[in-house]
């Protein structure tokens, strides 16, 4: 036991710097060599530590906090617990290593906050310590929020693809094993990078086609399907869904047309069908002044790949209200082309995702305080897709993208 007097006497024999640390604040590190307290105190002094995290799980969700508060919050949908924050900045994009070992964040910073030199890079975080392991410089990236397809990984997790728009459209390819930028590939007229296993990538194009981007050879080979949608008349929402097992993309347009495309060197696109008609409702139209059900939001669709069910945020309104939040979630069985359930939902959510568990959970987030555009974090809800029951509510949790671990 050290009495104060004892301690003070000891202090005079310590180097002045350590004495200063001891006497001005609890900078006790400088005293690491001293024996721990013993004796009369009824409590044991505690040591500071740092928590670690389990590797990512299919029941976890990753909620970006939007346009004002940086960071992506990880929640466990099994027990509603907040787990940790991944350091995504505003307009940063998160990609999760399929092996569960790393989180990758594509980000942009100026050396002096609002001025200095622009830097674009991928930050690499260890998935269990969330410690920054390093960063990989890239030539650039698009600055836009709430998109799943601007930073994607190859199915083996070894390659990262970052969409750039400068304002020339291109792809930056990064070797995540060597942690090195590899090359820039031009992608004229297309965006929304989709993995295309064995080939490279796929993307949606402004002429209404789907591009297959062959990166296997030395020279990039881009081929396109025939145009199948109108990029200006009835656009397909950027946040398309990819089913890796089937090598298939599921896409929904503003009017509610559902497209699927089989990827490969030469993708093939199915005949679309109307989600409204799949629910026994009149087909969506591009005419204004005609109220109907429409899909809408920033991330309006979520695919449960094992069951082939697509969950779509639906609202009533007119055409060109494609950003509006939902009053119902429609559960579409892709195999039968039937909306098998319509779940009413509160809070006008504009982003949705679903865990890839056998018994999945839906996660939705609506606008935060200040409404549309204010960019503040809104409340997230975890729903049972079978019943629509709200399992958990996370206050001020998100407003940007929702991601899950596949």
């Amino acid at each position: 036991m050290k009495s104060a007097v004892h301690f003070r006497n000891l202090g005079t024999r310590l180097p002045a710097a350590i004495r200063l640390a001891c006497t001005t604040m609890l900078g006790a590190t400088a005293l690491a060599a001293m024996p721990a307290m013993a004796g009369t105190a009824s409590v044991e002094p505690e040591e500071s530590s740092v928590a670690t995290l389990a590797p990512p799980k299919p029941n976890w969700v990753y909620l970006q906090r939007g346009f004002v508060l940086p960071g992506t919050a990880i929640y466990d949908t099994a027990d509603g617990k907040y787990l940790a924050q991944i350091e995504t900045p505003i307009l940063g994009d998160l990609a999760i290593d399929p092996a569960g070992k790393y989180y990758y964040v594509a980000e942009t910073a100026w050396t002096r906050r609002l001025h200095g030199t622009r830097q674009d890079y991928i930050s690499v975080y260890d998935a269990t310590t969330l410690k920054l392991e390093g960063d990989i410089d890239i030539p650039g990236r698009i600055l836009v929020g709430s998109r799943e397809h601007n930073f994607i990984l190859s199915d083996d997790g070894k390659t990262g693809y970052i969409y750039d728009f400068s304002p020339i459209s291109s792809i930056n390819v990064v070797d995540l094993v060597k942690r090195k930028f590899v090359r820039n590939v031009e992608l004229p007229g297309c965006a929304d990078l989709i993995p295309n296993p064995g080939v490279g990538l796929a993307a949606l194009c402004s002429d209404g086609s789907l591009a297959s981007i062959n990166l296997t050879g030395g020279k990039t080979d881009i081929t396109r399907t025939d145009p199948f949608f109108s990029a200006t008349g009835d656009p397909i929402f950027d946040n398309v869904e990819f089913d890796q097992a089937k090598d298939e993309v599921v896409m929904v347009s503003y009017t509610g047309l559902v497209y699927t495309a089989k990827l490969g060197a030469k993708p093939t696109v199915s005949t679309p069908f109307s989600i409204q008609e799949a629910a026994g409702v009149r087909k969506g139209d591009t005419k204004p002044n005609d109220v109907n059900w429409y899909p809408g939001g920033a991330q309006p669709i979520a695919l449960h790949t094992a069951s082939g069910h697509l969950f779509v945020l639906m609202h009533t309104g007119e055409y060109w209200t494609h950003k509006r939040g939902a009053s119902e979630i429609w559960d579409l069985d892709l195999a039968s082309h039937k909306v098998v359930k319509r779940l009413p939902v509160e809070g006008e959510p504009n982003v949705i995702n679903i865990t890839q568990e056998a018994k999945p959970k839906l996660i939705v987030v609506g606008e935060g305080e200040g409404g549309s555009g204010a960019g503040l974090a809104g409340d997230a809800e975890v729903l049972d897709p079978a019943t629509g029951e709200v399992k958990y509510t996370f206050k001020g949790a998100g407003s940007g993208l929702i991601q899950v671990f596949h």
């Binding site: 004002v68 001025h115 007229g189 656009p235 055409y319």
Partner: protein
């Protein structure tokens, strides 16, 4: 006939965009030209001489039917039919001027909005004012004819700060370009 016809603009432009091949070498030149320009003249455009689009109330969007022309600090001001973000008119700027210290991006996304006073459609360039922190005042999110990332110049989610010193987004203006 007009290049900015609301219905054909995006598609015709992007066909062209998509048609090109290597543009890497041109990028630097564009960048330099944009940065160097002291003012921001607009594209010469003409009114449509071809078949007029239907501007009857029945053909107007919900935004257009409820738009007004008197208060440019409100989201329903007619020019804001496809704006996304904070209005510069609420934060020390004007309908086509940036607040002090912000820098207008020389490129922008565009919208086609109907002026309720004359019932005509006009092309609006939504120039972001850049280099200052998000002002977060009078936030609006118009979405008439707003599209997705593969049709960039018609998408309003992108931070449209190119050719400026810093891309931090401050607020958005709605510059009248001409008749659509």
């Amino acid at each position: 006939m007009t290049i900015f016809n609301a219905d054909s603009f995006g598609e015709s432009m992007l066909r062209r965009f998509a048609g090109g091949t290597s543009r890497r070498g041109m990028l630097a030149r564009i960048g330099a030209a944009l940065v160097a320009a002291p003012v921001f003249p607009v594209l010469p455009v003409s009114r449509a001489e071809a078949a007029k689009p239907d501007r009857s109330p029945e053909a107007k969007t919900v935004f257009a039917r409820n738009a007004q022309t008197s208060d440019d600090t409100k989201c329903n001001y007619w020019r804001y039919c496809a704006i996304d973000g904070s209005l510069c008119t609420c934060s020390g700027g004007g309908i086509h001027s940036c607040p002090p210290g912000a820098e207008p991006s020389p490129v922008s996304w565009v919208g086609t909005c109907v002026n309720p006073d004359d019932g005509k459609a006009y092309l609006i360039a939504y120039r972001d004012c850049c280099g200052k922190a998000f002002v977060n005042k009078c936030n609006c999110d118009g979405s008439d004819r707003e599209t997705q990332l593969y049709t960039q110049q018609l998408n309003n989610d992108i931070i449209w700060c190119f050719g400026v010193k810093n891309k931090e987004y401050h607020c958005s203006t709605a510059v009248l370009v001409g008749a659509a």
